[in-house]
Subunit: 392 residues, 2 copies
């Protein structure tokens, strides 16, 4: 039969990025195109021990149905850690476990946004979140994002214009794709603007703990006194992404709706790994583990930056997983990535992260966490060759 799709979904197409990512299935291709952590960064040995222990003590309750809110001890230990380390969460908030940071964004969209509503986001921004908003028939209004994050004047202008935006979506720390981090002063301004225009703020913060230099900037959530910030975090970058676990910290009233949405979405997240992550945090030193990840990624970032800096223009990110490089004026990121892929090195064209998918960009996004040091050396040489040839 000819299916008639819901209007919310009919405009959602597999993106052009997929064509370029396809080449990464070829093992001879060096991929800077992913957003993956390094497998060296997974605490596999510890998880193996904990899994064996959980099975030995009778894993029945971890294999049984659980509650939609998530495994209570993991909720508690996560909430306590966020509160103590980052001042995130108040007595008016609640924290639930979700199936990765992506689900946090999707559930927030489902609960707050009607078709035709407008969401303000950084331009460029994380494609997974943009597609989650698109999948609810929502309009995206991009606000330019420089190396200090979202432009506050442009944001204020957009918030005063009609139609009034229903949500501000931001990745204030080590933004995907730009690597930009919003300074503390600008964060205060952002929270004030959200209050002045009475618009909720969705703070997507999966990279917070991957800082390689400089001082932590406060989470928007920690600056909020009006119950206006919905905070999404993830275990993907500090434990492992394949287990699909993240969390939302949000005001209790809103949380009731998010829990209902979570329940109809997948009942609850994988309970066995919720128990494992909880035990991991209890029994091991997760801060020391994250310290090791930071040290590894810092060296990878520095190597990639040192190899790229003669030919590409970019700001060194203080953390996260990506370098956002600009090609010389007149060149196109998409065409460049096509040429690079032919040389067996994959990068993502910047246009993939724009709210208008048809717009052009001379930027490219390069991931340094997944490739090995050798691959970074070899891949950067190939990127340089591709650039020379493209420039003629």
């Amino acid at each position: 039969m000819d299916y008639v799709y819901a209007s919310r979904i009919s405009s959602l197409q597999p993106s052009a990025i997929r064509e370029i990512l396809k080449v990464t299935a070829d093992p001879s291709v060096i991929s800077f195109a992913a957003g993956n952590p390094s497998p060296e960064a997974f605490p596999s040995r510890e998880l193996a021990e904990l899994a064996a222990g959980l099975f030995a003590s009778g894993a029945a309750s971890a294999l049984q149905y659980g509650v939609s809110e998530g495994y209570a001890p993991l909720r508690e230990i996560t909430a306590a850690r966020l509160r103590e380390k980052f001042g995130i969460g108040s007595p008016d908030d609640d924290l639930i476990i979700v199936s990765g940071g992506q689900q946090g964004v999707e559930l927030t969209a489902k609960v707050l946004l009607n078709e035709g509503d407008t969401v303000v986001c950084e331009e460029p921004s994380f494609i997974g979140a943009l597609n989650a908003f698109r999948s609810y028939g929502v309009k995206l209004a991009g606000v330019p994002c420089g190396e200090r994050g979202m432009d506050m004047d442009a944001l204020a202008q957009r918030l005063s214009a009609e139609p009034r935006p229903k949500l501000i979506y931001t990745i204030p720390t080590f933004q995907n794709p730009t690597g930009a981090t919003m300074p503390a002063e600008r964060r205060r301004l952002l929270v004030e603007l959200a209050a002045r225009f009475d618009v909720p703020l969705l703070e997507d913060d999966p990279y917070r703990e991957l800082r390689y230099e400089g001082e932590d900037a406060p989470a928007l959530k920690s600056l909020d006194t009006g119950g206006r910030v919905i905070y999404c975090g993830s275990f993907s970058k500090v434990i492992a992404p394949g287990i699909r676990l993240g969390y939302i910290c949000a005001p209790k009233g809103l949380m009731q709706k998010l829990i209902v949405a979570k329940q109809v979405s997948d009942v609850h997240s994988n309970l066995f790994f919720q128990a494992l992550v909880c035990e991991y945090i209890k029994r091991y030193d997760i801060d020391a583990h994250i310290g090791q990840i930071r040290s590894l990624y810092r060296r990878k970032r520095d190597l990639m930056a040192s190899l790229l800096h003669k030919q590409f223009s970019f700001t060194l990110p203080q953390g996260g997983l990506f370098i956002w490089a600009e090609l010389p004026q007149g060149l196109d990121g998409f065409e460049y990535c096509r040429r690079a892929a032919a040389k067996k090195v994959a990068a993502v064209p910047g246009a993939s992260f724009l709210t208008d998918e048809r717009a052009a960009s001379r930027a490219i996004r390069l991931n340094f966490s997944l490739p090995s040091f050798g691959q970074i050396e070899q891949g950067c040489a190939l990127l340089g060759e591709a650039l020379c040839e493209y420039m003629g």
Copy 2:
């Protein structure tokens, strides 16, 4: 701040059932209210061995990001098993792994249904699916479900009425909550009706393999020649529910949209357990394992039925997890369950499964898979006492 919720979600309330289920948190309460498999039915020892093996061989790829479609070897082995055992799936279909049967229903709703659309379902039907439809602002049109499943005359009438339904949702085998199974002839009629009115059919089939007597009825999916049936299955009842794994088998064109919806929802399902389930099916005899579950649940069903039959009116289900009992005329299921809960035995009032949540019902749903044999004896005695007292 005062959040303004999306219209699709604002009508979705935590249901009255929750109040009754709360009593089940008290360990002294015997619960017939769940839909859980028995922990004895989990292949814990085998999963422990496979997990140890996977960690020992380097679990990096099972802890890393995967593709939204799911772990390819699990997709293949699941598709092959469905095809060989039940004739489910054709070369025009594709199969993806999702986070439990619930997600299969939710993604289908997201991809096919606009707000205000009508979905036809059995009356009564599975509350999790009804709430998934409600969460997209969809209207529910219930068609009476007797012991032979959905009434075909009433369905034909509803399909010819305006507004034309966009989807038929059915649990044809060991229906939740009624336990009803649609005979083969009626299944053919249902597929014909769907073809005649050109409406897609969502076949929710988590209980198919839990048959305690009688002959298998063909899956609607196996009778469909028009690419009209979307088939959702689950590993929750044959492996374990806490791992949150299920699958959708559907025509390839539609599947492209379902994959995009899956991607924005949670990127992919827990990859470590996808690999474990795949290895379990490869290395162990899942059919023998299911045979043991069947034997266990058959004995539990028979015990519960033998204890209830003097006081309650019900049809013995040929499979599944539930007995659907009717109280004598004039009594109310909700009030009865409230009284039973006070006696420390929990059941679910039939009204919870109706499309109109304000309607009354003198039915109750009783689960026999989770309680022990001793709990079934004790709980049925308490149910009898509560009935006597209610009848005065």
